[in-house]
C-alpha cells in the first residue's frame, strides 16, 4: 500500500499572532514552526500504522519553500520513508491541491492523507480539492480508518454524530482527533531522518484564484466586569439587558 501524507507547517500554538507591512504579512518574528498538529498526530501516525500492518511505503509531501524542510525532517523522524517538497509558496489552497493532486496522480498512490485543517488557515479545503482533482472519494473528518485489502472502513464526524462508511482505493482522507495517538520521535528516528531521501520537485502549476489581501486582529476586549459570586441575579440581568444574549 503506497501512502502519501500531506504535511504542512504551522506556527506553534502559543505563537503571538501579529502582522506587519500594513497588516498584509504574518509577523514571523519569534515564531516557532511546528508540523500542523492534525497532520503529525493523526494523519502521519495512522499512515505509518497502516504501512506497518500491510506493508508498502509512506511518502510525505509539502508544498512550500526550502525553510519548510525542518518540519519535513521531523515527519521523517517520526517514521515516514521519504519526503517530497514542491518548491513553491502557494497563495491559496487550490494551488496547493493542484500540486499535490498532480504528484499523487503521477505516482499512483492508494491513499492520500491530510489533516482536518491547518491551524493557521483553518481552510479544511486542501483534502477535498485534491480528491476532486483526482476524481476520487474524500473521507472528510475521519476519526477512524481501517483497511481490508483495497476496501476502507471509516468513521466520519457528521452533524450530531458519526457515520460509518465504506469506500475503496484510491481515496483521500482528512484526519480528525481519535484517528491515532501522537508518536514522539526517538533518537534513532531523528538520526535516520537526516539521511532519508528528500526530493525537491518544481511546481507544475502557476497562478492562483484567491489570496489573502490583508489581515485584521479582533478588536481589543474591554476590561472584564467582575460580579459578586453571591449575586447571580445581577449576572443574569446583565446578560439579558446589557449583553442581550438571553
Amino acid at each position: 500500500m503506497n501512502i502519501l501524507v500531506c504535511i504542512s507547517k504551522a506556527p506553534d500554538t502559543t505563537s503571538k499572532i501579529a502582522f506587519t507591512d500594513g497588516n498584509t504579512k504574518f509577523d514571523t518574528n519569534n515564531v516557532q514552526y511546528i508540523v500542523n498538529p492534525y497532520d503529525e498526530w493523526y494523519a502521519l501516525v495512522r499512515a505509518l500504522e497502516l504501512k506497518e500492518a500491510n506493508g508498502g511505503s509512506v511518502t510525505i509531501i509539502t508544498v512550500g519553500a526550502a525553510e519548510d524542510e525542518s518540519i519535513m525532517r521531523k515527519a521523517l523522524a517520526i517514521g515516514a520513508d521519504k519526503a517530497v517538497r514542491i518548491n513553491t509558496e502557494a497563495l491559496d489552497g487550490l494551488q496547493v491541491a493542484k500540486e499535490i493532486a498532480n504528484y499523487a496522480k503521477a505516482n499512483a498512490y492508494d491513499i492520500v492523507f491530510t489533516g482536518k485543517e491547518t491551524i493557521n488557515y483553518n481552510g479544511s479545503q486542501v483534502g477535498g480539492m485534491v480528491a476532486e482533482l483526482m476524481d476520487a472519494p474524500f473521507l472528510s473528518l475521519a476519526s477512524k480508518l481501517d483497511m481490508n485489502g483495497n476496501t476502507a472502513t471509516a468513521e466520519l464526524d457528521v452533524k450530531g454524530g458519526k457515520q460509518v462508511v465504506e469506500t475503496s482505493t484510491p481515496f483521500v482522507v482528512s484526519c480528525a482527533k481519535g484517528m491515532a495517538e501522537q508518536r514522539i520521535p526517538n533518537m534513532r528516528g531523528i538520526m535516520q531522518a537526516r539521511t532519508k531521501p528528500l526530493e525537491v520537485v518544481e511546481p507544475s502549476t502557476s497562478g492562483t484564484q484567491a489570496s489573502v489581501a490583508s489581515y485584521d486582529l479582533p478588536p481589543a476586549k474591554a476590561d472584564v466586569k467582575l460580579l459578586d459570586p453571591e449575586n447571580m441575579d445581577e449576572l443574569v440581568r446583565l446578560l439579558h439587558e446589557e449583553a442581550k444574549v438571553i
Binding site: T13, I17, N122, P137, K159, K162
Partner: protein
C-alpha cells in the same frame, strides 16, 4: 446570473440553512441575480426559504448526501444558471463538498466567512483564521467564487415571500462512499450551531460533578462543551472538546467554569459574542478574555446561577 447556495436540510430547514440563504441573498443584492437554493432530499418547509430570499429551491436525491453527487448537483445548477457565487455553510457537509466544487469549477474559495463580501473594486471576503485569533481578508479573483459561511455569523433575515420548489433533472453520477451506519451522539444540541454554550474544565475535579454544568445548560437551553484535558482523560465525550485542536465555536454566550483560559482553548472560543468566566483564581488568564467574571468556586456559583436563570425564565 444567480447566487447558488447549498443547504443541509437532513434535519429540516434549520437556522444554519436560513443563515446561508440570508447570506446568499445579501450577496445577490450586491452582485445581481436570484438566489437558488440546492438541497438533498425533500424536507418540509422548503418553499419557506423564500422568506429568506431564495426564489427557487432545487432538490436532488443524492444517496446519503454523497459529497461527489452533491458536487455534480451543485456544479450543474451553478453552470446552468451562470452563477458567479456559490455559498455553503461551513458544517461537515460543507467541508466535504465546498472544496470539491471549488476545484471542479477552478474557483477561488473563502473558507470560514464571517461577513458579506466587500465588492468595491474586487471581491474580498472576511474569514476566520489562526484558529479565531485573527481574520483574513481573502481576495478572490476567479470568475466563479465559492464561499463557506461559518455558522452563527449573521442572523437570518425574514423578507416575506415563498420559493418555488423543483426536482433536479441532471445526472448525479454514482456515489463514491457507501454509508453503513449513522450513530447519533444523543439528543444534544450540535455545538457549532448552539447560540448558548456552558463549558467546564479540569476545575470541576471529576466527571461525577458535571450535573451542575448540565443543569445550568438545561435551564438556558444551551449546549455543553469542555476543555481538551477533560475530553482526553475521558470525563466528557470528544465531540465536546473546544479549542484550537477541537471544535471552534462562536456562540452568543459562552460560560466557562473551571477553565484556566490557555491560549489554545481561547483560540476556539474567542469568537463568542459574550464570555462569562467562573474561576477560583482571580489571576486565571481567562478573565482577560472575558466580558463578565465571577471569582468564585464553580461548585457554589453554578447552582446559584442556575437558580437565577430559573427565576429569570419564570418571569420572562
Amino acid at each position: 446570473m444567480a447566487v447558488v447556495v447549498y443547504i443541509d436540510t437532513d434535519k429540516g430547514v434549520n437556522k444554519a440553512a436560513q443563515e446561508a440563504v440570508t447570506y446568499a441573498k445579501k450577496i445577490a443584492d450586491k452582485v445581481g441575480g436570484d438566489v437558488i437554493a440546492c438541497t438533498s432530499g425533500s424536507a418540509d418547509g422548503l418553499a419557506g426559504l423564500g422568506d429568506f430570499g431564495a426564489s427557487k429551491v432545487i432538490t436532488a436525491n443524492t444517496e446519503n448526501s454523497d459529497p461527489q453527487q452533491i458536487t455534480r448537483f451543485v456544479s450543474t445548477v451553478a453552470n446552468d444558471n451562470g452563477a458567479k457565487v456559490i455559498v455553503f455553510s461551513q458544517d461537515p457537509i460543507g467541508k466535504a463538498v465546498a472544496p470539491r466544487v471549488a476545484a471542479r469549477m477552478d474557483a477561488g474559495h473563502a473558507p470560514g466567512a464571517i461577513d458579506v463580501p466587500n465588492t468595491d473594486g474586487g471581491f474580498t471576503v472576511k474569514t476566520n483564521t489562526f484558529s479565531g485569533k485573527a481574520f483574513s481578508n481573502i481576495s478572490i479573483t476567479s470568475d466563479v467564487k465559492v464561499i463557506s459561511l461559518l455558522p452563527n455569523s449573521l442572523p437570518p433575515a425574514s423578507l416575506g415571500g415563498t420559493a418555488s420548489v423543483e426536482a433536479f433533472s441532471g445526472d448525479l453520477g454514482s456515489a463514491g462512499i457507501k454509508v453503513l451506519e449513522t450513530k447519533g451522539q444523543g439528543g444534544a444540541l450540535s455545538l457549532p450551531e448552539a447560540e448558548l454554550v456552558v463549558s467546564a474544565g479540569r476545575g470541576l475535579k471529576g466527571p461525577e460533578n458535571w450535573g451542575i454544568v448540565e443543569e445550568l445548560a438545561n435551564e438556558l437551553g444551551a449546549a455543553t462543551a469542555c476543555s481538551r484535558p477533560v475530553a482526553d482523560i475521558g470525563w466528557r465525550p470528544h465531540h465536546e472538546h473546544v479549542g484550537q485542536t477541537g471544535v471552534a465555536i462562536r456562540p452568543n454566550l459562552y460560560i466557562a467554569a473551571g477553565i484556566s483560559g490557555a491560549i489554545q482553548h481561547l483560540a476556539g472560543v474567542n469568537g463568542s459574542k459574550t464570555i462569562v468566566v467562573i474561576n477560583t483564581d482571580a489571576e486565571a488568564p481567562f478573565f482577560k478574555a472575558a466580558d463578565y467574571g465571577v471569582v468564585g468556586d464553580a461548585f457554589e456559583v453554578l447552582p446559584k446561577l442556575t437558580e437565577a436563570v430559573k427565576k429569570f425564565n419564570a418571569n420572562n
